[in-house]
Every structure is written in C-alpha cells, then in structure tokens.
C-alpha cells in the first residue's frame, strides 16, 4: 500500500516540520501575512458575536460547576462583550420595526422587515462562505509556500474530493448547516428570549389599523394572535408577515412562535449533540482500534464482546429507557438534556465506529513499516500515533459523517415522543410533533419544513461520507452494511 506508506512518512516528518514552520514563515512572511490580514478583517467584523458567545459559554459553565467559582467574573465578561460591535447583528441590520402610517420605523434603512431580514441572511451566508474560503486559502498558502514536500497523498485525496460532485454537494449542505447553527442568534428574525422563552417580558410597537395609530402589545399577546392552527384565517405561512408587522420566513408555530427561530436554534443543539457524541465515540473507537490492531488476541476479543453486547440492545430503546431513568438527575438538566443525549449517543455509536475502522487498522498493523518501527524499539503509543493513525483517520471520517446523520434523526425522533430535549430549548422533533394535526391543512409548514430540512441534511452528511470514502480509497468496493445502520439512526 504505497499510499498509506507515504502518508505515514508525511505525518512523521510533519512533527519536525511543526518546529521549523515558524522559521520558514520568518524567512518568507509575505503569503502568511496576507492570509493573516484577511483573517483579521473577518475576525474584526464578528468580534462582538464571538466574545458574546464565549462570555455566555463561560457563564453557563461556571453556573453549573459545584460552588459556581468565578461566576461574577464570567457575568462581567459577558456583559462587557455586549459593548463590542458586530457587523452582522440585528443591531446593525435590524429587521424588527413597525409601520407608522407612512414609513417603516426601526428597520434597516427603512426597508420592509422581510427585505431587511433577507439582506441580513444573505450577508451572513456571504460572510460564512468567505470564512470557509479563507480557511481553504490558508491551507493552500501553507501548501504552496511553507510545506517542505511538493506532494503528499492528502493532495490527491483532496483533489478527488473536489472533483466529486456528489461529495461536494454533501459538503455544501453541511457547511450551510454549520453556518446556520453558528449564526443562529443573528440569523433568526427575532431573538429567542423575546419570542420563545419570555414572550411576556417584552413589548413591541405595531401599526394598529383600527385606531390608525401606533400601539404597543406584549410579544406573548401578539404571538397568541398570530398562531397557525390549520384553517386559513388562523395561519401565518411561509414568507408571510403577521398582523403586527413581524416577518416569519417559515411561518409561525401553533402557539404563534416563529418557526425559523426555532429551526435555527434547534440546528445549534443538534450540532452540539452531534459533534460531542461523534467526537467522544470517535476517540474511543480510534484508541480501541489502534490498541486492538496492535495487540490483537485477547484485547481484540474483549472489545468484540463488549461492542457486540452494546450493539445487541436496540439503540432507540436504550435511549428512551435511559432518558426516563436519568430524567430527574442533574445530568439531564445540563443544556436541557442535550448533554445527556450526547453522552448516550457516544456510548451507542462507538461500537459501530470501531467496527468500521477495525479492518483498516488490522491491515495497517500488518505492514512492514510497523514491524520495522517496532524493531527499532519505538514505543507502542508513538508507533500507533505516527504510523497507524493517519491511515485510519479517513475511514473514521466516513463513518463519522454518516453517524452524524443518524444522531440528528434519532435526536429528532426522541424529541418527537418527548424524550429528547426538554422545552424551552427548541428542537426540530418537537416542532414536527406540534404540527402533526395540521399537515393536511393550511399550517402544513410546521411539520413539513423541519422534516424536509432533516432529510436534506442527512442526504448531505451521507453524500459527504460517500465523497470522503471515494477520495481516500477510490477502488473501494463499498463495504455492504458498513455505516448504513448508523446512518439510519436506529430506525427513528
């Protein structure tokens, strides 16, 4: 396997390269500076949002730690972060305003709320795409200006992925989803506090047609009067505004809350669960795969037995049962149950991931260079990291991408029956459940939109997985059954 041989030498020399990368940049700082300047501009534009997110995260973490150490400092930091300006925020391009009889007040440049929101959405996606391109450009800069090797197998794999339309389609879908999750607060037409969590603590102004003047109303009352309940007279559908001048890109829920806001914040929690679960499961699977491939025998047998046992329990049932059992514990209160779900998914998914990379690990463990490294007296840990890990990384990515789809479907399924993420944190599954009675009526958007988005996202993750597989192993005969179980989310 010439490919894997070369990739292992690459990673080996990369550790030495890391030491000298700084020197090489010092010798030829031009390209790196240009790239850094671009990144700095992108960073400045969104510095406020970044600081605020970090501040909120710090507050959440310190509040949940025993004894709440440093919570005052965190609160102060989060408060300070609000003063840092952000380019793409609802403050810079506001879409929430009201009609005063002759013009729109409070919206960006006097545009209609829908146009102002559309502009913000477009700019956010533009920014997100620029950011991704900047990262890619950074890699290209490193490759052309600072890498010592002219060519590595990774170059070929990336080239194959870039020319694989199906895989690039998947990557695009995934990136769009990531941007939505990252920019959920700025992207949604209203804030989660105002519209979903404390609608009776906020007041909005609107143009009262009956009185012919601007009146004020509590958000909760306004929500109550813009519900989508099936019949056309009580419905705020896709791309419609309600009676209070509020624009709802995906319409409203059956309780009058904005569906787009729920979807955007729901994508955030799905992403959190997916990333946490897959990275824990992937770490466990990688460590075990390396260990079992290196030591074989009893170590392998033990892991086979344990993973078979976990896989023999239907995953949805395990999730439902565990969700019930832990419902009163403190773990279930973290992020409204998302942390618990993520841990459970990690437990359920590592056996599948380990199975998927077990074969490639065994293959690489039999290669001569592993023997050679061993006979040179290299320690097992270092040997596994430098000579085996790079080879199995790609296979892990394939399965991880497909498992991600499974996690998202399962999370939605669990929330659908009330076992997943608790209210008030928004989730896609609960939206589908709420819209169930209205599917055949005017308010079909409540159930249909989240479902269609889940489908597109899962197709995207599967396509990305296919693309990576074709890229790392162009002649692979698609292993039947491999990854399929994970992709379907245990039947949810």
């Amino acid at each position: 396997m010439g490919v894997s041989h070369a990739s292992s030498t690459k990673s080996h020399s990369e550790t030495e390269d890391d030491r000298r990368l700084r020197e090489r940049i010092r010798e030829n700082p031009g390209p790196a500076l240009r790239w850094a300047a671009g990144m700095f501009l992108l960073f400045i534009a969104e510095a406020g949002a970044l600081f605020q997110t970090i501040g909120r995260l710090l507050v959440a973490v310190t509040e949940n730690l025993p004894g709440t150490p440093g919570v005052e400092t965190a609160n102060w930091l989060a408060w300070k972060a609000q003063t840092v300006p952000t380019l793409l925020s609802r403050e810079t391009i506001p879409n929430q305003g009201h009609w005063n009889g002759s013009e729109w007040v409070g919206t960006f440049a006097g545009l209609e709320p829908a146009q102002a929101w559309g502009l913000r959405l477009a700019l956010i996606y533009l920014y997100g795409c620029l950011f991704v391109l900047a990262l890619w450009y950074g890699y290209l800069t490193y490759r052309s200006a600072y890498r010592t090797m002219d060519w590595t197998p990774r170059d070929d794999q990336l080239r194959r992925l870039r020319h694989n339309n199906w895989g690039m389609f998947g990557l695009t879908v995934v990136i769009l989803f990531l941007i939505m999750a990252a920019f959920a607060p700025a992207m949604s037409p209203t804030t989660i506090d105002q519209n979903i969590q404390e609608p009776y603590s906020y007041e909005i102004s609107y143009w009262n047609d009956d009185l012919g003047q601007v009146s004020t109303i509590l958000v909760g009352d306004a929500n109550f009067q813009s519900v989508s309940k099936g019949n056309p007279s009580q419905n705020v559908g896709i791309m419609q505004s309600d009676d209070f001048g509020r624009f709802h890109p995906f319409g409203t829920m059956n309780n009058g809350k904005d569906l787009f806001t729920i979807i955007a914040f729901g994508s955030r929690i799905s992403l959190f669960i997916g990333v946490t679960a897959i990275s824990i499961a992937g770490t466990i699977a990688t460590l075990l795969a390396l260990a079992t491939a290196y030591f074989k025998g009893l170590a392998d047998l033990t892991v086979v037995l344990v993973s078979d046992s976990i896989q023999s329990v239907p995953s949805l049932m395990l999730l439902i049962a565990a969700g019930y059992l832990f419902s009163d514990t403190w773990v279930a209160t973290l992020y409204d149950g998302a942390v618990l779900l993520a841990l459970l998914f990690a437990l359920i998914y590592w056996p599948g991931m380990w199975r998927a990379i077990r074969g490639p690990s065994f293959q690489v463990a039999q290669e001569e260079w592993v023997d050679a490294a061993r006979s040179y007296g290299q320690r097992p840990l270092r040997l596994m990291r430098t000579h085996m890990l790079p080879y199995i990384m790609g296979y892990l990515l394939v399965y991880a991408s497909m498992s991600f789809a499974g996690v998202i479907i399962s999370t939605a399924g669990l929330s659908f029956i009330g076992f997943g993420i608790n209210a008030p944190t928004p989730s896609w599954g609960r939206a589908i459940n709420a819209g169930q009675p209205f599917v055949a009526q005017a308010s079909w958007h409540i159930s249909l939109i989240p479902g269609i988005l889940i489908t597109i996202l899962c197709v995207g993750f599967n396509a990305l997985g296919d693309g990576i597989r074709d890229a790392i192993d162009p002649e692979s005969d698609t292993d039947p059954g491999e990854g399929e179980g994970g992709a379907a989310g245990g039947g949810a």
Binding site: L316, M317, I409, A412, T455, N462, T478, E484
Partner: protein, 353 residues
C-alpha cells in the same frame, strides 16, 4: 478455520454477549437512578405497598442475589409479572398478547422492501449511468434519509385525506378499514379457513378481520418501517450488479456466446445476492428499534408500543425484560445471518474475520 468452526465460534461467542446484554438490562432496572418500586407505585405510594412489591421483586436480597435471580429468570424465560400495564398478569402473557401485530408488521416491513428495493437496485445497476439510474438512485437515497417518524406522520395524513387530495378514498378501497388502527389478526387463529372458507379468511372483514384487510392496515406502517432497508437494498443491489457485470467470468460467459438473459439471470443475479445478505441484520436492527416510533404514530399496539407504555407508566421490570428479549432476538438473527452467509458464500471464514 473451516466454516463450521467459524460458525461454532460465533455461537460460542454469543453467550458472553447475552450475559452482558442481560447485565445491561439488570443495571437499568435495579441500579438506575430511579427506584423501580417508586416508579411502579407512582402516585399510590405507601410504605406498606412498597414493602410488598419490594418483597415480590426480591429486592430485599443483597445485590448479587438480585442479579443471579434476574439472570436465571431471564435465561429460563420466567419473566416475572407485569406491574402497571396489566397488574397481576404474567409478563409472558402480556408480551405474547402484543407480539402478533409486531410480527405481522415486521414480516411485511422486510418483505415489501425486498420486492421493491432489490429489483429497483438491479434495474439501476443493469442500466447504469442512464437517467433512469440517476432517478432511481437519487430517489433511494432521499427515501432512506427521511426520518421514519416524520414519514409516518406525512403518509398517515395523506391517506386520511386521500379523498380530498387525489379523489381516491384509501379508507374505503378494496376493504373498508380505518387508517390509524391496529390490524385485526383474529382470522389467523383458524388457518384451516384459508382453504375451507376462503372468503372469510382472505377477504370478508367480519368480526375477525381478513388477510387483505389486515394487510391493507399494516401496509403504510410497513412501508415506512422498511424505507431505510429499501434504500439500502437498492444501493447495494446496484453496486453488486455493477461489480458482477464487470468481472472476468461474465466476460467469459459473454465470449462463450451466452445470451444476455442467461448471463443476467444465471450469473449476475445469483452472485449479486451475496452482499445483500448482511443487510438482513441491519434491517432487523432497524425494524426492532423503529417499531417504537412507527407503532406509536400508527397506533398499532405491538411490542414497541408496549415498551414505550411500560417506560411511560413506570413498569421498569417489564421494560427491562423487553430490552433483554430484543437483545436475544438480535443475537439470534445475527447468527442466522452468519449461517446463511456460510451457505451462500463458501469463502466465509477462510479470510481473516
């Protein structure tokens, strides 16, 4: 390693797996953060009643005694009693009374995808890179990615409103049935009727239901539950046909002057079936897990529904029993698959596992 040895090893290895699976079920019921006695009693909690149940469940013994009790009763299939769902009934009876509908659902959920997914996959493989191929493949991928519970909701609504939407009344078609209802399987009790009273067995939906009626009632749920497998079978069937077609022995057969029909039916399809076998396992896995949500949406009171009810109402011993039974079922299916595999493909077991 010969294939018999391989199979023997697989069966031997399944025993420790069974024990670990049983331990997981035990841990859930007796070691979880919720006391099963408290869960069973719920609002009616009194210390006397609690002591009574504790005694009955054998929870006054030390933990290892409880563990041995639990495991022996599981392995001898003496499953204890139901506490909340059907108080006083033996768990075995309760589970048996819910089983037939799940089996009926599972049977069709396996069969329908087999007869739709594989032919479509083979068709796409034989006509690779045509528009029909792209359409079929893409359809399969999307069909597979749709969440089952969502698909169930949509399908159910469409069927309930088929009259207004398409001018086709699903509920009244062939045999009048309700849409969201468990299938009536009482007709299966007298299988002899299939020959002697064919009308009442196959067709007339009397008090005891009929074959066609029950099939029609289960069809939407089976279609949803089988959706993932259908997509998988299509994808893998397509790849398998493509690979077989391009192999050398097909070239030889073609050179010998065999007709296309003989090549396709005799040489391509038989070998293309091999990689489809392991799909059975993942299918069984999806069926068992997915039955919970699909049965809930279609209001089919089968095992998955029973499991959900037992969790919601706090009947933890029953839920633990069900989890264990499902594990046993999956392990058995796994071994059956391995056996089938050794029969179809003699090379199995000779390679490194």
């Amino acid at each position: 390693m010969s294939r018999h040895q391989y199979l023997a090893r697989r069966i031997l290895l399944s025993f420790p797996v069974l024990i670990i699976a049983g331990t997981i079920a035990f841990a859930m019921v007796y070691l979880g953060p919720i006391d099963p006695v408290v869960a069973i009693l719920g609002q009616q909690y009194t210390p006397e009643a609690a002591a009574q149940i504790r005694e009955n469940l054998g929870m006054n013994k030390p933990l290892w005694g409880q563990y041995i009790n639990f495991m022996t009763s599981m392995f001898t299939l003496d499953l204890g009693q139901s506490w909340v769902i059907n108080p006083g009934q033996s768990a075995k009876n309760v589970i048996w009374s819910y089983t037939p509908r799940t089996i009926w659902l599972g049977f069709w959920a396996v069969l329908i995808p087999l007869f739709i997914g594989i032919p479509m996959g083979f068709y796409a493989g034989l006509n690779s890179n045509s528009w029909n191929d792209y359409l079929t493949s893409f359809g399969g991928i999307v069909w597979r990615a749709m969440p089952n519970f969502w698909l169930a909701v949509i399908l159910m609504t469409i069927l309930a409103n088929s009259e207004q939407m398409f001018g086709f009344d699903w509920a009244g078609w062939l045999v009048p049935t309700d849409i969201v209802t468990p299938p009536d399987l009482a007709f299966l009790a007298s299988p002899a009727d299939a020959l002697f009273e064919p009308a009442s067995f196959w067709w007339t939906p009397g008090d005891d239901g009929s074959f066609v009626g029950a099939l029609k009632q289960i069809l939407p749920a089976a279609l949803v539950l089988g959706s993932a497998s259908m997509g998988n079978e299509m994808r893998i069937g397509r790849t398998a046909v493509l690979e077989t077609i391009n192999s050398n022995y097909i070239e030889t057969a073609r050179a010998k002057g065999l007709t296309r029909r003989v090549i396709v039916w005799k040489h391509v399809f038989r070998n293309a079936m091999i990689p489809l076998v392991p799909i059975i396992t993942s299918e069984a896995y999806l069926l068992l897990g997915g039955s919970v949500l699909v049965e809930l949406v279609f209001a089919i009171n089968g095992i998955g529904y029973l499991f959900l009810q037992s969790i919601i109402s706090g009947d933890l011993p029953l839920a633990g029993t069900l989890i264990f039974l499902f594990s046993v079922l999956l392990i058995v299916i796994n071994i059956a698959q391995d056996f089938l595999y050794t029969v179809i493909d003699p090379r199995v077991g000779y390679q490194e596992d």
